[in-house]
Point group: C2
Chain length 122, copies 2
DNA sequence: CCCATAATGATAACAAGATCTCATTAATGA
DNA sequence: TCATTAATGAGATCTTGTTATCATTATGGG
């Protein structure tokens, strides 16, 4: 059976506290404020089981390692801050993307990334 | 000085023939139809000098290696085919992305990726 | 046509991110 | 409380993409 360890509690806590897509390194750094000696392998193991269990989802980002965010949210997109490198969630959707799709192509999905400065880095 | 070799001619030719963002592997495969014994290192060297010379640009894609496309085009976005894995260019822009940006954030740039099926893979 | 040297091809070396190994620790059912 | 065994931490290992090495080839100015 799955055991409830201090490490996994700390990792789950980081996700609900931050509520944005996190890299494994960010998860580690956040969780180490509770369990200072935590190792990166523990983070990867937890991310794997959280992903398989449907608690978190993978977010693929252009030119960066994968991030992970809490699953079950409404459709949304992401904002990447060029100051601190953090990624944030943005509610909503531009809609009307069908106009971009050339004749003969079929759209199944889309992603939007906005780059700029977060409030802390302006 | 820079020499004009059969390999570099073939690589430049692949870009104008395909007119879409290519991975180094795709560039190699395309160029090998002209210069069959071409090596991957030659492709990377050519991509580096073409990028530095402003002829091609890097395209960062979510969850994939970098691609390269001809520079100097109008603002556009990309379509990724789930059938063949090729990436295509789409003219235009959804506009009105400012509405997505939460208060306090400053937008500097954006990227849109559409996923689906290309005409060949429908 | 020559020759200096830029470019090439094959492969080794690197880099970064992710996974595996294994001895040790600790959560949980009995 | 105890014993089983899942989970952990540290670091080795693997993977994928990219760059470096080096002997050989071949471009292009003189």
């Amino acid at each position: 059976m799955q055991r409830d360890t201090a490490q996994r509690r700390a990792i789950r806590r980081v996700f609900s506290r931050e509520n944005r897509p996190l890299t494994p390194q960010e998860v580690l750094a956040g969780a180490q404020s509770t369990v200072p000696q935590m190792g990166l392998a523990t983070v990867y193991r937890a991310l794997k089981s959280l992903t398989e269990g449907g608690t978190v989802m993978v977010v693929d980002v252009p030119g960066e390692p994968q991030r992970y965010e809490l699953a079950g949210k409404d459709h949304h997109h992401h904002f990447s801050c060029r100051g601190c490198g953090r990624m944030f969630e943005m509610d909503g959707c531009p809609g009307d993307l069908e106009q971009l799709v050339p004749t003969g192509f079929v759209m199944e999905d889309h992603e939007v990334f906005i780059y700029g400065r977060c409030p802390d880095c302006r």
